[in-house]
Symmetry: C2
């Protein structure tokens, strides 16, 4: 594990929660990430689930706040928590906005200047980090799931849609489901890809509700949880109805659960993460 530095390692629910840093070739900077290895870890590779966090979060946030490890321990799942963007990029303006730049990489490979050299989270997460977990942490490359929250929900849906057949289970909590139609997504895509008028294809190719209308990009049955007390739902940032319409139009199986009273935060995530990981375990053939 010469190129993986261990930052901390703690026993948790009979397994091990650890945090690491690697020199990312995709990004050209050190990138941190977390891994939970369940008590079943040993010689046999285990199914793994990539857990993508939302705006402003780090590689620690989901690991600390979602309460996911207990369920991963029960089901025998490896959990992986990437960071949400490159850090200390030195790019002018990259650290000035909470909803764009550092802490807000949107799990895509930017194509516009000055972002394209560093903001390559799609390659970092979907290729680089996945391979690291398979090589060094006992993940089974043939049994990989992906989930995420908010911007991370957008990431989970789009990475799975853009890589057909690579994920056996997909879910999201309060995802940004149609980024080309909401302020967060429009701001991010405008910077990372350029204006919609000039980069229309790239915008569409990173919008789950657009991609899902392409029948070649069929996903395993989706599970999405959305709180109805979520202020960002009311603000039109999440647009689950657009995802629901796209799935209905294209025959994509979707279970969209709307939960009265719940808001956008980790109090909601921890309340549904047990169901979400059971969904992954079932599809990854590790159900109890």
């Amino acid at each position: 594990m010469s190129d993986i530095r261990t930052l901390s390692e703690s026993a948790c629910f009979g397994g091990v929660q650890s945090f690491h840093e690697t020199d990312s070739a995709a990004i050209g900077l050190p990138m941190k990430f977390g891994v939970y290895r369940p008590p079943q870890s040993g010689n046999e590779p285990l199914p793994m689930v990539l857990c993508l966090a939302g705006l402003t979060c780090t590689h620690e946030t989901f690991a600390i706040k979602a309460g996911a490890q207990q369920h991963a321990a029960r089901h025998g799942l490896v959990l992986v928590t990437p960071d949400t963007s490159p850090r200390d990029t030195g790019i002018n303006g990259a650290a000035s906005d909470w909803d764009f730049g550092e802490g807000a990489g949107f799990y895509l490979d930017a194509t516009a200047e000055p972002w394209r050299a560093r903001f390559r989270m799609e390659t970092h997460v979907a290729d680089e980090l996945r391979a690291i977990v398979v090589e060094h942490f006992g993940g089974d490359d043939s049994r990989v799931g992906i989930l995420g929250h908010s911007m991370g929900g957008h990431g989970a849906l789009t990475l799975a849609l853009r890589r057909p057949g690579r994920y056996r289970s997909v879910s999201a909590v309060a995802p940004i489901a149609a980024p080309t139609r909401c302020p967060w997504g429009q701001k991010a895509f405008g910077h990372y890809f350029g204006p919609e008028s000039e980069a229309h294809a790239a915008w569409r190719a990173h919008d789950a509700s657009e991609l899902i209308r392409d029948s070649a990009r069929r996903l395993p049955p989706l599970l999405v949880d959305q709180g109805l007390g979520d202020a960002f739902l009311a603000d039109g940032q999440l647009l689950p109805d657009a995802l629901e319409a796209a799935c209905a139009a294209s025959g994509q199986p979707l279970t969209l659960r709307r939960h009265p009273r719940y808001d956008h935060g980790y109090w909601f995530i921890q309340s549904v993460i047990g169901d979400q990981l059971a969904h992954h375990a079932r599809l990854l053939d590790r159900a109890l």
Copy 2:
């Protein structure tokens, strides 16, 4: 609820996690706290558990990191998370050390200058906050449990021992079990009460392993969890053996579980909090 200001309120596991601020008469400053009300909340008061956090923590730390709400929801328990000290006291030196002063109130009423006016966490937690939760958040004053971690474990044990009959269930995770014999406790007591040579009685009266030898202070059966990979155990800050010896000498029922590999942090707490809250629920007559 005129004197209780609500800072936030979020649905969580079918109940509500909220944070509040009150003008503490005991301390003479605003004090924040968290409350979890389980889905069973209604007209009937529910058993409540005070959850005391450790050095450097705030009223949010245990609520965010311990993963306790799901168990409280199952058992029908109200959870209360106080802060660990007064804040913004303006006392010279109060904010300069991580293991003393602000963030490190040790759940006692200080008697020495300049701490005695503000550092009155025993009265704040055991009297004031308890009454607030009974009056405003549906807590049952006849069914109160107390638990804590590290400095909060010391707090749970000593508050229960110093108020015989007031707590029906008591537990701790990695408590500072004999503060008069460890550096953290000696430093804190030296400031809050004065040197041991001059304040010997006060020191002893706030040390669980000393108090427990007094048979008039019998507690309900204790549950204590200690990780054996805990660096502060190795450093002699926790001294569970002293607690065990005192319980054995005085006939105090104690279940002390020693867990290989686990460290001092919330990765350990979340791994045992389910068992601890089941212990409280059983003794508070709310077991399933």
